[in-house]
Symmetry: C2
Subunit: 409 residues, 2 copies
């Protein structure tokens, strides 16, 4: 029997999904599972998006353009203009989810063996796309104690080798919720200019910025127009994760032309969902105001509840809807499995993502988990209570002093 | 400015889509273009598929399972059972189009530098996926003179090296329309058994077999259950190319588990379209009877019309809806561009795909084109007339004797 590929074996399992069998087993025992492991919002998808799909006058479900429907791409330029990002239609390629945009960016810009520096903890699937593309992720560690601030330029520069081709960020950050300031982005600009690197930015959470802080894109940086590449998605913006519609954006037309060849090979993004995505662009601002208010309240609830638990540290995330939380535990993989397999409180338990999968440096994240505050406040309250009770009885509990809290909060 | 990747530069442009700008220019001049370049059928998508999408009760457009909706996968086992293929739910993974199934098969089974032997001419995008995966396509040439019959075992075996990991076929074939017999598949079985290779089979055209001949799957071959991998898609079956729903099938659970990690990285296939695909499984047989009758008539029309043109050779395809046709021309890339740019007859012209892009051996296919008979008979008649007139005046016309016809037809 022929063997599977080495890269297949090297491919990491998703830290967000690998515990699914344990959650399913818990549910079969009648236990309610609060899913804080995955960024699947409970917010309703805008009605006009769903209506457009239902009313689409399609008799033959045809391929669309490999770069996506032109009408949609054109209309997207108006969406980005609201963020003070000036784009032409040809700067935008519609992709099958933000995932495909990342894959195209890696394949179009990086050769096998090339290195991309990414602040860790980072979205775990970057690892997967890197393995698939034969690209090496070089982590630069950010720290929970200072709220996962961008590491200093010296930390990046110490990692640069002749193989380094790009720096990649997620802003606002998954899993940290960190919102980078324009000053932090300017620091990155200096590095990519000095070392002639691509600056890739995953900006799928741009709608989710709190406390009146505004979102800064890498496209707001002057002088690196040909180096900036943005990966975007409608999954979170419109609570439309199942649509699988994202986009790859660059003003570097050589990159876009190469990416188009990868896009042509896979033919086109899904037709119905593109129609929905185009209609979703007319979603009124009030939708986002409501959503933002809701997430702010959820964040406040979660951060407050967590920091009240002895030994727990949760920085206050400035964006997205995630938090990386330090727990007084020995091993987050063991804990996240244990809480599904061996614990319940009031007939319920919590599913979390071990933070180990979000770090590339072995050993980091062992006392951290990622949670997504994508449930209603009532459920979040119950989930926080569950977690607090679980930490009281978890066999692998370790003592952690709370001194770090005062500096971090 | 950082450079794009070498693999991006090595990535071939789609021979099916690369002439699109010339077609668009022709249309702007008011010329009607008959699109025979792309396998986009004009047949209506089954109503129950579209209705299911329209009626789907979705409020939050959520991610689905990374392997696809379980209800759909389960129901698919019934679909394959009708073809005498016995599968379990876990043998099937829903993919974003057949394209993604090919990509997952390559990534899960082959390492960079590994070789896959494919009879040429083959579906051009196999090249693209191979470049992306760092896999080397080794072509074994089949010939128009014998209707693109499977090359003899000796031809395959002469190409096997320590790097050879798989043989891949497309059955019925795109671009040739060749329908492999069970005897041809048995010959492949002996090779993959002897050399311990995967046998990958793209079977997306299985509904399109003509002249009463039946379809044979690699799953019908006994003794290579762990080596057989099938890539399938609903694009052609239900004229639903824009749905981007396919599947990867293998009874080799190690392959499926590795493929699942790649699937988890990209999260899930599109939700609405999966609902449609599941409903499409109830499409009555009468739909396929009508479609098959229509395509048989179209094929007969095209084959007859082409072989009446002096110097033109078109074998009679046993399946799919393509034909590779030999034309009395110097260069198919030049010709396919010229017919769009510089020719029209009765205000119309024809878009064809140069066959060069379907061969991996340089120089082959220069006097061949692929056409897809996916238009109504009236349009096909007009397109054939157009082609005949074009060949009379094409500046690069060359004399080809018609002696080969008598053996091929």
């Amino acid at each position: 029997m022929p063997s599977v590929s080495s890269r297949g074996l090297a491919m990491p399992a998703s830290p967000i999904r690998k515990l699914v069998p344990f959650a399913e087993a818990a549910k079969k025992k009648g236990i309610k599972v609060y899913h804080l492991n995955i960024g699947q919002p409970d917010i309703e998808t805008p009605a006009q998006m769903l209506d457009a799909i239902r009313k689409a006058d399609i008799k033959v479900l045809e391929y669309s353009h490999s770069a996506g429907n032109e009408s949609y791409r054109k209309k997207l330029t108006g969406y980005y203009a609201k963020y003070n990002i000036s784009l032409k239609t040809e700067d935008i390629m519609v992709t099958t989810g933000g995932s495909e945009a990342i894959r195209f960016a890696f394949s179009a810009c990086l050769n096998p063996g090339d290195e991309v520096i990414i602040p860790e903890p980072f979205y775990a699937n970057y690892n997967g796309f890197a393995v698939e593309a034969g690209v090496k992720v070089v982590p630069v560690t950010s720290h929970i104690e200072n709220g996962f601030a961008l590491p200093p330029a010296s930390a990046f520069e110490s990692l640069i080798t002749p193989k380094t081709k790009a720096i990649m960020i997620c802003n606002p950050g998954n899993p940290t919720g960190k919102l980078y300031s324009i000053e932090e982005l300017e620091a990155l600009k200096e590095i990519v200019l000095k070392h002639d690197l691509y600056l890739m930015s995953d900006e799928v959470y741009k709608e989710f910025c709190y406390d009146g802080k505004s979102f800064a894109s890498v496209f707001h940086l002057e002088g690196i127009e040909q180096q900036a590449i943005v990966m975007d998605s409608i999954s979170k913006r419109y609570s439309a994760c199942g649509a699988r519609i994202g986009c790859l954006i660059s003003k570097n037309q050589e990159v876009m032309q190469v990416a188009l060849k990868f896009a042509q090979a896979r033919l086109s993004p899904p037709t119905f969902e593109q129609i929905g995505a185009e209609a979703a662009l007319d979603t009124p601002d009030s939708y986002f105001d409501t959503v933002s208010k809701e997430y702010t309240e959820r964040r406040d609830l979660v951060v407050k509840a967590l920091n009240q638990i002895p030994g727990v540290l949760c920085p206050n995330p400035g964006g997205a809807f995630y938090a990386v939380v330090r727990l007084p535990i020995d091993d987050s993989d063991t804990f996240c499995q244990w809480i599904l397999e061996s614990f319940s409180h009031n007939g319920a338990t919590v599913m979390l993502a071990p933070a180990t999968g979000f770090y590339a440096t072995p050993g980091l994240g062992k006392n951290e988990v990622r949670l997504a505050y994508v449930l209603c406040k009532e459920d979040l309250n119950a989930a926080m209570l569950c977690l607090e009770e679980a930490l009281k009885v978890y066999p692998g509990k370790v003592a952690i002093t709370d001194t770090a809290k005062t500096t971090a909060l």
